[in-house]
Amino acid sequence: MSEKVKKERKFKSYETQKKIWAFIFLAPWLLGFVGLFMIPMLTSFRYSFYHLLSTVDEGLVLTWVGFDNYYNALQVEAIGNTFFKAELLATLSEVAINILVIIIFSLFIAVILNAEFKGRAIVRAIFFIPVILNSTAVVFALSSGEAMSGILSGDAGLGKVFDLENYLLRAGLTGNMVGFINYLISRIYSILALAGVPILLFLASIQSIPRHLYEAAEIEGSTQYEMFWLITLPNVKPHLLTVAIFILIDTFISSPLSRYIDGLRRTQWGLRAAMSWLYVVVVALILIILLAINKIFKWGESHYD
């Protein structure tokens, strides 16, 4: 009897111990969340309604301007020769294309990389190289070297290896279609760079599918094609949302829009804050749409439940 009480007490103390440790484990993150995230977030939200002026003797001077910053961001302000709203629309269409293309592409590649074949380890290693080399600084350095691309396109560029456009047109595809295919091919490197983490997620998800499902299907005589649609896809479905959200965030962070916002002069902090918040609103809207699609098609649930 006393033994049982003792055990119970020990268990109880373990539970309280757990709570204390949970707090200790979370302490650094909580500190950062409140100090480096929540407070700056609220402050920057407040700043988006002010005109900020940095002065030598008085420090930061705030003047209330209401929604002027938002109005300016959408209607007036232009950097270089583009408007904020134009960049926003361009990024939106990029996001729509990216989510579709990258989900299909990375699922396809993940299925291929999951199969057994010679040299699989090497190919897997190669496919994550773009994730590692995907650096703003490198992209910036290479794009600013306009002259370099002049050298390349002259004789050794990929596009010159074979004239794909002409070939596709002769194959009877419409002009629009060829344009789209060409667009995808010209962006293949950036698609690969963004697809690295989704491939990783899909690969992990496919590997968590129990082997015996495939074995049973094989004994029943189903083809690889059927196995994909009836076993792989339903099991991967719960993770589509995670992948889609990752692509959404990644596309936005690496989009010209971010560079546009960063390109503002340091004095225009209020405008910058307003643009950032418009950006957040757009991302949140897309997220809500994704969640709604998720609810309607029940992606989040495995079909075995």
Partner: protein
């Protein structure tokens, strides 16, 4: 006589072949073999093509870096340099302040990686295994940090860091990583959370029966089992810090005494001539060459290569563990 004999033989053989061909069991087997062959050929072509697309620019860059500077627009040199030379690399390393910048970048990335792993692993563990009332609501906070872009916070963070006198110091990056607000820390917490969730409950229970406390369970039982997640997060944390330009420029971390590769590269790419002039790289080469805009572009290119090369070499070493870790990560739970 022999002729008909031979003809009969051929006929018999041919019939045998025909029967063989039409036998259902063998037919199926043959069909399967052909299918397998077609699939593997298709797979080979696709994977080879994509691998080529991935490796092509880097190989081209390396070959271009090894050209003699005089050959920069020599139409006869397309792939293999006519005269092999390390001169471009030498000039680019002067522009980047390479040895010092490499050391500083490695130090910054490494320390920030360790801090990121520590803070995110602890938080991920607490969110998955040490649940308490309201921990799910707090987890929404993690999702918020993933969704809200750094631009929305930059000004307030900058002003705050000025008050703390952290602007212009590397410790600003360490503070962010140590408190779980570094580059994409939210995603790392998410990875650790789903990983720890996937570990069997029996592990924890048996450790508890053997008398281990919460921390001991975490440190000696759970963490060693989390190697897959640790490798994945570690690699990403290191690489993303290495490639980061946003926080580096926001907190003005890079300066003369503490040069960072990304910042130097951005600077150089903006005005290669100025960078050459200021660092004295221009003295290494004649005027007939540095006045060529193609040469300046080439040096920019080589500088970018110099920034990526250490990452590539590092990846070669951890690649095996990384690829294997995918199998066991269970990132998605």
């Amino acid at each position: 006589m022999t002729k008909t004999n031979l003809r009969n033989k051929i006929k018999v053989y041919f019939n045998e072949l025909k029967d063989n061909f039409n036998e259902p069991g063998k037919k199926m087997k043959r069909k399967r073999i052909i299918k397998k062959l077609v699939i593997s050929v298709f797979r080979f072509v696709l994977l080879f093509g994509l691998s080529f697309v991935i490796l092509f620019p880097t190989i081209q860059q390396i070959l271009m870096a090894l050209r003699a500077p005089e050959d920069v627009n020599n139409p006869a040199v397309i792939w293999i340099p006519e005269i092999w030379s390390f001169k471009n690399i030498k000039i680019a390393s002067v522009v980047l302040d390479y040895p010092k910048a490499l050391l500083c970048t490695t130090k910054l990335s490494f320390i920030s990686m360790v801090l990121q792993i520590a803070s995110t692993a602890l938080a991920g563990y607490a969110f998955s295994r040490l649940k308490f009332k309201g921990s799910n609501i707090l987890f929404i906070g993690v999702l918020l940090t993933i969704i809200i872009p750094p631009h929305a916070l930059s000004l307030a963070q900058y002003l705050y860091f000025i008050d703390l006198k952290l602007v212009g110091k590397e410790s600003s990056i360490y503070l962010m990583s140590g408190l779980g607000m570094g580059i994409r820390s939210g995603i790392f917490i998410y990875i650790f959370r789903s990983f720890f969730q996937g570990l069997p409950k029996e592990l924890e229970e048996s450790a508890q029966i053997d008398g281990a406390g919460v921390f001991r369970t975490f440190w000696s039982v759970m963490l060693p089992n989390a190697r897959g997640a640790l490798v994945t997060v570690g690699l990403f944390a290191f690489v993303w810090q290495w490639n980061d330009t946003y926080f580096i420029s926001l907190f003005e971390v890079s300066h003369g005494d503490f040069p960072l590769l990304t910042a130097r590269l951005m600077n150089a790419a903006e005005g290669m001539y100025n960078a050459l002039f200021i660092t004295g790289g221009i003295n290494l080469i004649g005027k007939d060459i540095w006045s060529n805009p193609l040469f300046l572009a080439l040096i920019t290119n080589v500088s970018a290569l110099l920034m990526m090369l250490p990452l590539l070499i590092m990846y070669l070493f951890v690649q095996k563990q990384f690829v294997e870790s995918i199998e066991r990560t269970g990132i998605v739970g």
